[in-house]
């Protein structure tokens, strides 16, 4: 199911700054990573989806609704977690999330129930009755996530949810986001400038750079074609190279390793057999899954 569809979406701010240029992308339900450097246009894209700003040209549809015209219907189905600090220090998390639940149109008792339920889901229990001012950064991020979730949206827009967290906190937050996307059945768009972070939890990835679409695809499609086998032998690397080339394999050398694309399951056996025939001391043979980041680096160098 397509949840977000844009057609040559362009946003130009006054003064001729192009934040988004000719962005055309279809986004499927699931956990989606929206990656790009700071200032690449991620936040602008989110604001347009929320109907906070109107696109200069082009169109965007969220759940097949136009955020500019059908703002209320879109916002009822979308939860937004901003990047910056957005919590008042002098109220408790339970009270604050209840208040925002009511502002999303939930009746009073429903808002209170949903608030404590979502706070529990993000991992805040007894602390939710304490004032937010005394919370750690990790707890504040959880409150921010809870307020985005309180009205049970179908889509969450998370702007840098791991900002300011320590490595353990990052892992916990990413696991939580992943759980929301898989167990809760809510689609999530995770904005980040850290590719390595989102690729762990996302089904698909949209990469933008300077307001333009770099690439949008499912993570599996991005990595499937790029699995390689790395072979390392203690000696006789050249002989093995020749032997493998004769087997019609495209072999590349990388330092002391030989990289062979994993085209079929038989590649393993062929390599092992070649090594055995040459009687070489095999150091290692492992499958290397390309990280998405590497795809972009090679692409960028190709562009130059």
């Amino acid at each position: 199911m397509t949840i977000i569809a844009t057609q040559s979406l362009t946003k130009t701010y006054g003064g001729g700054v192009t934040a988004l240029g000719d962005l055309t992308v279809d986004v499927e339900a699931g956990v989606i990573g929206l990656v790009g450097a700071n200032g690449a246009g991620k936040s602008t894209f989110i604001k347009i989806m929320l109907g906070l700003i109107a696109p200069t040209s082009g169109s965007v549809r969220v759940f097949d609704l136009d955020p500019v015209v059908q703002t209320d219907q879109v916002r009822a189905r979308v939860g937004y977690m901003p990047e910056n600090d957005c919590l008042p220090p002098d109220v408790s998390a339970a009270e604050f999330v209840t208040h925002l639940g009511r502002l999303s149109g939930l009746p009073k008792t429903a808002a209170r129930e949903r608030a404590s339920e979502t706070l529990r889901h993000v991992g805040l229990y007894e602390e939710r009755y304490r004032q937010i001012g005394g919370y750690s950064t990790g707890m504040k991020q959880r409150v921010k996530l809870a307020q985005a979730l309180v009205h049970d949206p179908d889509l969450l827009l998370l702007d840098e949810p791991t900002n300011g967290l320590d490595p353990a906190g990052r892992d916990a937050m990413l696991a939580l986001v992943h759980r929301i996307g898989t167990e809760f059945g809510i689609s999530v768009v995770v904005c980040s400038h850290l590719l390595g972070e989102v690729e762990r939890i996302c089904d698909s990835l949209i990469a933008i750079e300077a307001g333009r679409l770099l690439r949008a695809d499912r993570i599996s499609a991005m990595t499937a074609a790029s699995d390689v086998l790395a072979v390392e032998v203690s000696e006789g690397t050249d002989e093995l190279f020749d032997a493998l080339t004769r087997l019609q394999l495209t072999v590349t050398r990388e330092g002391r390793q030989l990289l062979v694309p994993l085209e079929s399951e038989s590649s393993y056996d062929e390599i092992l057999r070649a090594v055995a025939e040459l009687d070489l001391p095999l150091h290692r043979l492992d499958q290397r899954r390309h990280r998405v980041a590497e795809l972009f680096t090679t692409k960028e160098t190709a562009d130059v």
Binding site: D72, Y80, P82, L100, L103, G105, H151
Partner: protein, 288 residues
């Protein structure tokens, strides 16, 4: 083993209940603002000042009512009550308006508000409405206490009570509402300019008090027109001027001459301008 104390994780439940529209959201924000005005749902610190003001105002009303009931002395009527309390009203809005406006800006919650079915006009409207209600309650409730005491102690039966209600309390309430509308809209506009509560409070007090000397200077000018128009320079004397105009020349130590309607027009324009500026400001803020 199924103990009663064990909380079972039943997983995430989708919400199937009703989702209310913008009117209900407006109501929720209004209620929230009204509660916040009196520090309800906030820490003890936030309650001290509003309730101090409420206490003083109530005390004055009770003393006034008692004096009238016991000794048949009217210290001040419903109109004079508002005028006498003017300083307290200024301090009340100087504390509460930043609590309603600057606090949201300071904490950065506005992006959370405006990513929900809530528009800049709803936000401004709800905040203005809650402060107007708060100030009106601050003045109207003591006035009502004064009326109740009078009603139970007045000689002359139900007709006298009706006369007191219709002829004195209702105009008094209307006057309180005028105070509330003017002071709420101006103080909220000042508060919306800064996220720092102390600055906002100072700015509000300054705005209302700094203008008073201007009136004093204008009233000693030799021109009679200048004297009649002097009251326009300050919100407090402006309100007095409107009262003089509407109550047909009651003596409040301010002479408005034949310029009464000008006072009315200025009061209206001042409120309208403050509200429009607020709206314009939040239109911009809502777009982040």
């Amino acid at each position: 083993m199924s103990d009663a104390g064990v909380i079972h994780d039943i997983g995430y439940q989708r919400y199937e209940g009703p989702r209310l529209g913008r009117a209900a959201v407006f109501g929720a924000l209004y209620q929230h603002g009204l509660r916040a005005s009196f520090g309800l749902g906030r820490s003890i610190k936030a309650k001290i000042f509003p309730w101090l003001v409420v206490g003083i105002v109530l005390l004055v009303a009770v003393i006034n009512a008692a004096a009238r009931a016991q000794f048949d002395v009217i210290l001040f009527d419903y109109f004079e009550f508002d005028d006498t309390m003017s300083w307290l009203i200024i301090f009340f809005v100087a504390i509460v308006a930043p609590e309603l406006m600057s606090r949201d800006m300071r904490a950065g919650v506005l992006p959370l508000y405006f990513s929900r079915p809530l528009r800049a006009s709803d936000y401004v409207g709800a905040k203005v409405a809650s402060l107007i209600t708060a100030v009106f309650l601050l003045l109207g409730v003591p006035q009502f206490i004064m009326f109740l005491t009078a009603a139970f102690t007045l000689d002359g039966g139900i007709s006298k009570v009706w006369e007191e209600f219709y002829g004195a309390l209702l105009p008094g309430w209307a006057y309180s509402l005028l105070w509330a509308v003017l002071f709420a809209s101006i103080s909220l506009l000042v508060a919306s300019l800064t996220g720092k509560r102390a600055f906002a409070a100072g700015g509000i007090v300054a705005f209302f008090l700094m203008t008073a000397p201007v009136v004093a200077v204008l009233t000693i000018l030799p021109s009679e027109t200048a004297q009649d128009l002097a009251g326009l320079a300050s919100p407090m004397s402006l309100i007095s001027g409107v009262q003089i105009w509407l109550r047909d020349g009651v003596d409040l130590g301010l002479d408005v001459g034949r310029f009464g309607p000008i006072y009315g027009i200025e009061a209206f324009c001042l409120v309208a301008a403050a509200l429009l500026l607020l709206l314009a400001r939040y239109r911009k803020v809502a777009a982040l």
